[in-house]
């Protein structure tokens, strides 16, 4: 019903998913003003440059709906949004939610640590207690803790996503090592409560700068990495981040669904997952009216993988790779390539933070890059 009203008012629904809308109006002086709108059940987030256009929209809407206060955005879905139009800064953080989590689990006054997990953390299923010795209370608390952290991770605290993902694999039967790993996340949160993602006008992806590539504003860039055989059962962990305006807008840390036989193959897997999301976000950006002029650059530290995506080299040991993964090749070659891989030194690969437990110095360096802080 709400969606239908928006469409009647002249909004265009992107994706036909009934969630993100955009309305453009050409003014007399040829400049375009627009409203971007994203709905979350009964909450909405709108971005608009033109105050008169927005006031008209709100006036029209309050005729048909009961709108409560609709001022500037300060608080969205449990996260805090700070904006500074003059400097061109938007910041997302979840300090209050983090405090609530720490209070709930009675870790309010714990000792802070610098990283969310130990360096080279490897949690194994062999640490879980036997099924008949499972303590329901422990399991429930563990699940509640991970659920609380999961929400932090997917909204503004991507820096703990590797640690949370590791712990979340043992939701059904956590052992002592898993519980202490989960607690370590809280120790880390206690020391970094106010951390958030900061988007800045004119900020560029530092990894792109390091190879001397300059991009126009509103262009996406990405980086993808993998830790070969780093997870349980010799699976690899893939991690990637997609950046815009100096910080990441999408990220993932996941165990790969198949076992790969070489580091190149595991990198190839993570690049392909990253490329699929890049293409999706490119569509979103184009629908929002910000055309992507050049292919999206993906940082990659494995040369063989870059050759493989270009369609040359190492055929004998790569011919078994699933066709699905080869989709990334189609994105990378042709007349209008959507993604482009470039080589970056391993220690400057920000996506490293999503694939393994890093020591403090490297962790903080990558965190600065991806969070824009």
């Amino acid at each position: 019903m709400f969606v239908k009203w928006l469409l009647d008012y002249g909004f265009v629904n992107m994706d036909n998913d009934g969630v993100t809308f955009v309305k453009n109006v050409k003014k007399d002086d040829e400049s375009v003003s627009e409203i971007l709108l994203s709905i979350h059940v009964d909450d909405g987030l709108a971005a608009c440059s033109d105050i008169t256009m927005y006031t008209e929209f709100i006036a029209a809407m309050s005729k048909d709906f009961d709108l409560s206060d609709s001022g500037e955005l300060k608080w969205f879905m449990g996260g805090k949004v700070e904006q500074d139009r003059e400097k061109g800064i938007v910041r997302l953080s979840q300090e209050q939610y983090g405090n609530d989590v720490l209070k709930t689990f009675q870790m309010d006054d714990c000792t802070p640590v610098d990283t969310p997990c130990e360096a080279n953390l490897h949690l194994a299923a062999s640490d879980s207690p036997p099924l008949d010795k499972r303590n329901a209370e422990v399991v429930r608390n563990y699940q509640q803790l991970i659920r609380a952290c999961m929400y932090l991770t997917c909204f503004s605290r991507g820096d703990c996503s590797f640690a949370v993902n590791q712990c979340a694999r043992f939701m059904s039967n956590p052992g002592p090592t898993h519980t202490s790993a989960a607690k370590r996340i809280l120790h880390y949160l206690a020391g970094t409560r106010s951390l958030g993602i900061t988007y800045r006008r004119g900020a560029v992806d530092p990894s792109l700068l390091s190879v001397g590539v300059r991009t126009a504003p509103n262009q996406l860039s990405a980086s993808a990495d993998a830790d070969h055989a780093g997870a349980d059962g010799r699976r690899s962990v893939s991690g990637w981040a997609i950046m815009l305006a100096g910080a990441m807008i999408a990220w993932s840390s996941k165990r790969q669904p198949v076992t790969t036989i070489s580091s190149t193959e595991s990198e190839f897997y993570s690049v392909s997952q990253c490329a699929l999301d890049c293409v999706y976000l490119r569509r979103i950006m184009e629908l929002l009216g910000y055309e992507q002029m050049a292919p999206t650059h993906i940082a990659q530290d494995n040369n063989a993988c870059i050759f493989l995506v270009k369609g040359s080299g190492m055929y004998a040991r790569a011919k078994h790779i699933d066709t699905r993964v080869h989709r990334v090749r189609e994105f990378a070659v042709g007349d209008k390539p959507e993604v482009k891989l470039y080589k970056i030194a391993g220690e400057y690969q920000p996506a490293d933070i999503f694939t393994k437990g890093l020591p403090r110095v490297a962790f903080q360096r990558h965190r600065r890059t991806i969070m824009g802080e």
Partner: protein, 201 residues
């Protein structure tokens, strides 16, 4: 609703199933930020508010919610015997949320009427998904706003759930502390929380 009087008993009567309010997952804390309910994050039913120091505020919120639903024409009263065969009368309960601002100060008490959607039979309802936005879309809008100097606003449609019309026949009993005349039940004309298709509205 004209001509019909719904009465609330002053003491809580222990009927009605306690269910989870799916969309009410805030951590219940008192005004000092102390958690009240142990590990349970939500005040889920009228059993939970019994004996609390702020019980009267919760009850007040309950009344306000029921009044709002009635004013919106959500329900009409029908006879129990008029329910067509194949339709069940489902239970509902109230859940509570203490709304706080970003510094943890109490803003208001809210109550929400939840139907037990699990009692609805499969096939008696249509689409059930909620229009939730993707975090990556929200963040890209934020990033664009930073780059282009757009202002971010928030929209909050009050009772967005309760606006949608209920296309199916749904009959409910009000929670324990509210009583209808004997032999009468309510028919829903608009969706309420926790009915299966509610979030799609």
């Amino acid at each position: 609703m004209p001509g019909v009087k719904i009465r609330r008993h002053e003491s809580f009567i222990t009927t009605g199933a306690a269910m989870m309010g799916m969309f009410w997952t805030a951590i219940a804390c008192d005004e000092h930020g102390q958690q009240l309910t142990g590990m349970r994050p939500v005040l889920r039913s009228h059993y939970d508010i019994e004996g609390r120091s702020d019980e009267h505020l919760c009850v007040e919120a309950c009344d306000k919610e029921i009044k709002k639903l009635l004013e919106m024409g959500t329900f009409s009263i029908v006879d129990e015997n008029d329910i067509p065969p194949g339709h069940k009368c489902i239970n509902c309960c109230m859940s509570f949320k203490i709304k706080k601002d970003c510094d943890g100060n109490v803003l208001e008490y809210r109550a929400c009427c939840n139907a037990n959607g699990r009692q609805q039979e499969v096939g008696s309802y249509g689409d059930t998904f909620a229009t939730t936005s993707k975090f990556s879309c929200i963040r890209s809008i934020c990033a664009i706003a930073a780059q282009e100097g757009l202002t971010l606003y928030q929209l909050d449609v009050k009772g967005a759930f309760l606006l949608a019309e209920c296309k199916e026949r749904v009959y409910i009993n009000l929670p324990g502390q509210y009583r209808l005349p004997k032999g009468k039940v309510l028919q829903c004309h608009r969706l309420i929380y926790s009915l299966k298709p509610a979030a799609h509205g």
